[in-house]
């Protein structure tokens, strides 16, 4: 009886020790950079960066495999934030001139007359902004839609349109902060000021 208790206790203690120590020895350091980049990304999981989601894209950036300008939902703000974090040059958004000019917020709208209730767009939506059931008409919850356009592709009857959000008292937002690429700092003025102030010291 006693030997049984001791044997089991010793066995358990031994394995406990082994596991405890190996947890320290074999600890996998999750790269803190990945975490930080992941936090800056918009988490729409839209995969427009060609990676499976925001986290894989963050990992790719951290390993230097991907450029920092491949996130259309994040836009220039995200690029700037990542550039500041990694201390690299901010790049214009990938996709050329077209992607460069920000068209303002857009939303998906489902034409409810044409919708056949196939639920394909519901599966595609990364933020669960589409409401509906099989063979029932679907609709988009405007407040949740991020305008990622992922639902447009799978629709078999092409009943989803991307429309710009009309600016009214309900949808108006403060303009986004000025970013360095589109509006470089007025260097000339800055020098002028510093010259002026230099004399006073």
């Amino acid at each position: 009886m006693i030997s049984a208790i001791i044997a089991l206790a010793l066995l358990a203690a031994f394995f406990g020790l082994v596991l405890g120590f190996s947890a320290i020895i074999f600890k996998v350091e999750a790269s803190p950079v990945v975490e930080q980049i992941d936090k800056l990304l918009p988490q729409t999981q839209c995969a427009q960066c060609t990676y499976a989601g925001c986290r894989p894209y963050a990992e790719a950036i951290a390993e230097g495999e991907a450029e920092i300008n491949m996130c259309p939902p994040g836009g220039q703000q995200t690029i700037q934030a990542i550039a500041d974090l990694l201390d690299v040059e901010a790049l214009p958004l990938a996709g050329g001139e077209e992607a460069q000019e920000e068209p303002g917020p857009i939303l998906a709208i489902i034409d409810e007359q044409t919708c056949i209730g196939c639920t394909l767009c519901i599966q595609a939506c990364p933020v669960d902004a589409i409401l509906g059931a099989a063979k029932q008409m679907h609709t988009v919850i405007a407040a949740e839609c991020t305008g990622c356009e992922l639902c447009v592709e799978p629709c078999p009857v092409d009943c989803i349109d991307m429309v710009g959000v009309e600016e009214n008292i309900k949808t108006w937002k403060w303009p986004k902060p000025v970013n360095h690429i589109n509006h470089p700092l007025p260097l000339g003025n800055f020098e002028l000021i510093s010259e002026k102030t230099a004399g006073s010291f």
Binding site: S3, A4, A7, L8, L11, A12, F15, V18, L19, S22, A23, F26, K27, V28
Partner: protein
Amino acid sequence: MTEYFLLLVSTILVNNFVLVKFLGLCPFMGSSRKLEVATGMALATTFVLTLASASSYLVNTYILVPLEVEFLRTIAFILVIAAVVNFTEMVVHKTSPMLYQVLGMFLPLITTNCAVLGVALLNVQTGYGFFESVLFGFGAALGFSMVMVLFAALRERLAASDVPEIFQGAPIALITAGIMSIAFLGFAGLDKGL
């Protein structure tokens, strides 16, 4: 050499753990809906079963038998298997992230699989030596993997076929498993032939 081969064949086909001994049915039904998942599960099980039969043999022979506390076998085996699997998971996570991604969450899940404990206990009951125990565990795992992959493939076909409404989902899966089990009972004759 021949007897080892016989042992392997008999554990894979004749005494298949899932379809003849009816052990490890939960992963068999639970994670066989997709082929990739089933393959991951099968790989993880192969890994754990082989490891578990080796470690439980060692614990039984060098700790439980000398101390004459064989009645602790079940609880000691559970402890050993859980600890070894957790340890392996950590090592794999550290040394081979690729393998970790494939086996992933299946590794800790498989610990509580009845097939794992079943192999360890059957090893002791049949009185296998160390090498035979490992081979038995490996053979059992191979049999499990084969059945898993076959069944997952069958279920993928079933998902696309026109099943009567009352049989859809779990019922048809259970019927399929039953028919597979009957088919595997046909291997019972193989034992005497060899």
